[in-house]
């Protein structure tokens, strides 16, 4: 049974890999979170910086 599961998982993974290679829209969509993460992290840094620069800030 595990062999069947492993085979199915392999086929699904291969299918997504093909999709990633062939469909630009899919590639763009699936890669987008890595930029959003950086953007968000930076947003937090900037917000913390602004907070620390306030006159009454510690």
């Amino acid at each position: 049974m595990i062999n069947i599961i492993v085979a199915i998982v392999t086929l699904i993974a291969a299918g997504f890999l093909l999709l990633w290679i062939l469909r630009l829209s899919f590639r763009t969509w699936v890669e987008r979170p890595k930029y959003a993460m950086l953007e968000s992290d930076q947003r937090f840094r900037d917000a913390e910086k602004r907070k620390s620069e306030r006159p009454n800030s510690a």
Partner: protein, 903 residues
């Protein structure tokens, strides 16, 4: 166009940066971070104490709470819950707002989780284990009452952390979020399975579920959270996106699909159906491929950032953790493969592997994440210099430990495959274990310095310089593509539900793995048990059952396995492979995953209770080189006065293998066909040698000794024999062979003074080969031929030289009358120890034709008898004169042929 879009992207970032950000619970991060460091120091101290006891077993002995087993439980549970648990929670507080753009659910809930995790799980868990409340299940040692709070804490964490993630559209969720959600959801489901199911599902069936949890604890709690950390810290520090989010997602899904299927690889060659074992091995190999994918993606994300890896301590920790992840995962895949598993399983190799996983991968990654958080947390102190020292100390300590334990495992595996006595592998491991102690010192110092790094140094008054410009340079090109295809922001509708699908699929797959590796094997095992179990199999008595509880409480199963695997070296050394039916009443299973001492599955009938008490009270009294902790607190002052715990524990040990012995050859019918093939190939013969009596390898089943010894005057051999004696015999017979060994006082009958009688060669050989039934003298078949020959040669050299005294015919006739009247029923008419009553006596009456007592020995025995045997004291029955007559009478029987003549 490019410039324009870059500006657009940059502009978009700046615009978004102006937005308010959700609150980050920095107080909770601080408290969990400090709790993590405090608990890792305590846990590492437990570990060093445990390691020290390997070389100095009497160190901190004598009290129940500080015995090896309890400290061992607290070591691993402290690392799991205290160190990694707190570090992961701190990380979740930091990244959840950043990945979801939402605060965690509730600050008050956060403090509730903190108190539950540290003051209702870690602290009481440690205390309860020290007090003797635990369960002997790998990675599940805290008692069930603590498990209730663990499950409660995980449920609350789902509310606290997973809830914000559920509101994020699938297309926008970064891979770290997937790992956090997956890890917390799976662990909430898997924890009760691994901790509670083995309590209600016995033996081999329970082991199938235990295997699930052993692997899920590492694979579905530690790994996802650690990988989430790596995927977050790398881009955050480098300012560049990861190499491929798609590959990261592929890695995520493969991990969650494949990891739960690995569990049974902890029980290769066991009674669990071979189909489940093979499936787990295939899944393990596949998992290695997945880890290559994940690590490649992470390392490619660091391309061009080697300068930052060397200059930024947080990133350096993460980089080391990622590399360790690759090594340990490939090592794990390799270990699951049968030819390697049979060699290194149960050895220190596996301990090296687990330390590489929990320190090299998980702890380094967690330390990297904490360092990153601290270096960015407002108002936090951060001492980069201390962090740098911490990194190198941890690296040196871990490298030394892993190399050392891996080498130790290879040495142990080699000795176990051969016919070397078990204690040889213990002796061979001494230097490696000592090196392990040394390797622990830089590790605990490294963790201490890490904490110093979080407590000292300049305070973060302002955040690090904005990386807006850096981002503009670093990711503009990447964002260009992103924003160019702005029309794709709206993902296909079906995929907008991907997160829901993931949740359902994740849950569904957990259920599937639970069925595939738990339910199905359990059903197969139950059918097998129903088919093969003897109808007369009895459950343990109340006393034995209580002994089993003590056995689990003291961690005996962490050194002594209770599973003879279906491999030739196991069968050859311990006896028939463990059948599923033998474990059908074992709640929970005590198969064990490590052998420091020998397997005990076939202990029934091997040793007397006297020996067991002496061994339990002071293991070195019976086995001079043993490293087993003494359990003197189970006795009232000495080994002769065991309290109820010691009596019940010995009763339990005595029961191990009893039912299999009673079942005979029919007891081995369950052996799986695949296993049978392995066994027959191991032996190069057809059929499965599944009972002790059928073992034919190296003549171990021979009814007569396979060795003989020449009357050698070779000094080297005599010296070697003396050495063998010192390591194996001196505990009972004494250093001077006077029968006054440390264990002698509690043995009935007492070990013999080897100076006080003369035995024939054949008798000595038989005693060494078979032991002496009814006494504490065990069989020594595990010694090799040369050892046996030389030790008997040495014993011969000690023996008394008894001169036969001449007797007048009158004295001879008188002695014969006294003997016939008093001794014949046991010792037989001709003194061969074969009288009518002899068959029922253990130990058997002395055969005077092969044993010749000295004058002094005969006088003592005749007057006082032999305590622990059927030999009574005759001083109140016979006069001294009659005793004096009997002594030469029995002495002159020595060496007589069948016809009564001397050769």
């Amino acid at each position: 166009m490019k410039e324009h879009t870059s500006t657009m992207s940059h502009g978009a970032l700046l615009i978004r940066s102006d937005k308010a950000v959700p609150r980050t619970e920095y107080d909770l991060i601080r408290w969990h971070g400090h709790a993590a460091l405090i608990t890792v120091l305590i846990s590492a101290l437990f570990g060093i104490l445990v390691a020290t006891k390997f070389n100095f077993p009497n160190f901190m002995g004598g009290h129940a709470w500080e015995t090896w087993g309890r400290l061992r439980y607290n070591h691993t549970q402290g690392i799991f819950f205290g160190w990694l648990g707190n570090a992961f929670i701190a990380f979740c507080y930091y990244v959840t707002p950043r990945l979801t753009n939402r605060s965690v659910t509730s600050r008050r809930l956060g403090w509730t989780i903190f108190w539950i995790w540290n003051f209702m799980v870690v602290l009481p868990g440690w205390l309860l284990v020290c007090m003797g409340f635990s369960q002997p299940l790998e990675w599940a040692e805290f008692p069930i009452i603590v498990d209730v709070f663990v499950i409660l804490a995980f449920l609350l964490m789902l509310v606290q952390f997973v809830k914000p993630f559920l509101r994020v559209p699938a297309g926008e969720l970064y891979v770290s979020g997937w790992y956090i959600v997956g890890g917390l959801v799976f662990t909430t489901l898997a924890y009760p399975i691994g901790n509670l199911v083995p309590q209600v599902v016995p033996g081999a069936k329970g082991a199938a579920f235990s295997g699930l949890w052993i692997h899920d604890a590492v694979g579905l709690f530690v790994t996802p959270l650690a990988v989430a950390m790596a995927y977050y810290v790398i881009p955050a520090v480098t300012g560049r996106p990861i190499y491929s989010h798609f590959i990261s997602m592929l890695g995520f899904w493969l991990l969650f699909f494949i990891y739960p299927l690995n569990g049974t690889h902890h029980y290769v060659y066991s009674a669990i159906p071979m189909s489940a074992q093979r499936g787990a091995i295939i899944a393990s190999a596949y998992l290695g491929l997945d880890v290559i994918l994940v690590v490649t993606n992470l390392l490619l994300s660091l391309r061009g950032s080697s300068g930052k890896v060397s200059s930024n301590v947080a990133l350096r920790f993460i980089w080391f953790g990622v590399v360790a992840y690759l090594i340990v995962s490939l090592q794990g895949s390799m270990q699951a493969i049968m030819p390697i598993n049979r060699f290194i399983h149960f050895s220190d190799w596996v301990i090296g592997h687990s330390h590489l996983a929990m320190i090299g991968f998980a702890s380094f990654t967690a330390a990297g994440a904490l360092a990153h958080i601290w270096s960015n947390m407002p108002g936090a102190r951060y001492n980069e210099r201390a962090m740098g020292w911490s990194f190198w100390l941890l690296t040196i300590g871990l490298s030394l430990m892993v190399i050392d334990l891996t080498a130790a495992g290879l040495v142990e595996g080699q000795l176990w495959v051969g016919r070397a006595p078990w204690i040889d592998s213990v002796r061979a491991a001494y230097p490696y274990w000592f090196t392990r102690i040394l390797s622990g010192l830089p590790i605990i110092t490294g963790f201490a310095l890490f904490w110093v790094g979080l407590l000292t140094g300049p305070r973060n008054r302002a955040m690090l310089p904005s990386k807006s410009t850096e981002l503009g340079e670093g990711i503009a090109a990447s964002l260009e593509d992103d924003w160019r295809h702005d029309d794709t922001h709206g993902a296909p509708s079906i995929l907008s539900y991907a997160f829901v699908i993931a949740f359902v699929a994740g849950f569904g797959f957990f259920v599937l793995s639970f069925v595939v590796l738990g339910i199905v094997p359990a059903m197969q095992l139950q059918a097998e048990v129903n088919r093969t179990a003897p109808h007369t199999m009895q459950r343990l008595t109340a006393s034995e059952e209580h002994g089993r509880v003590i056995y689990g409480r003291e961690g005996c199963a962490y050194c002594h396995t209770e599973q003879v695997r279906t491999i030739s070296s196991d069968v050859q050394r311990f006896g028939a492979p463990t059948a599923a039916w033998e474990t059908q009443y074992d709640y929970p299973q005590l198969w064990g995953t490590r052998r420091i001492g020998p397997d005990l599955s076939r202990e029934n009938g091997l040793r007397t209770d006297d020996w067991q008490y002496a061994h339990l009270y002071n293991p070195r009294s019976t086995v001079p080189d043993s490293i087993m902790p003494g359990y003197s607190w189970m006795f009232s002052g000495n080994a002769a006065q065991p309290n109820v715990d010691a009596r019940d524990l010995v009763a339990y040990v005595r029961s191990l293998g009893r039912e299999r012995s009673l079942a005979g050859e029919a007891g081995g019918e369950q052996v799986d066909h695949g296993t049978a093939m392995e066994m027959s190939s191991s032996y190069g013969a057809h059929g499965v040698p599944d009972t002790r009596t059928r073992i034919t390898v190296m003549g171990l089943d021979a009814s007569t000794p396979i060795f003989s010894f020449a009357q050698s005057s070779d000094d080297d051999r005599l010296t070697h024999g003396k050495d063998i004696y010192a390591h194996n015999c001196s505990g009972c017979h004494g250093v001077n062979a006077d029968g006054q060994g440390l264990a002698a006082t509690v043995m009935h009958p007492r070990p013999i003074d080897l100076h006080c009688e003369h035995s024939s060669d054949a008798h000595l050989a038989t005693v060494l080969w078979d032991g002496v039934s009814g006494s504490a003298m065990p069989a020594w078949r595990q010694l090799d031929r040369t050892d046996l020959e030389d030790v008997t040669g040495y014993v011969q050299s000690l023996q008394a030289s008894v001169m036969n005294q001449s007797m007048t015919p009158i004295d001879l006739a008188s002695a014969e009358r006294i003997y016939s009247a008093n001794c014949v029923s046991c010792h037989g008419a001709d003194g061969r120890g074969n009288g009518p009553a002899a068959g029922a006596l253990k130990p058997s009456p002395v055969n005077f034709h092969v044993r010749q007592p000295s004058q002094r020995r005969a006088w003592t025995v005749l007057n006082d008898g032999i305590s622990g045997s059927a030999m009574p004291a005759w001083k109140n029955t016979l006069t001294p004169g009659q005793i004096r007559l009997l002594i030469p009478y029995v002495q002159q029987m020595y060496g007589k042929e069948e016809d009564g003549s001397h050769p």
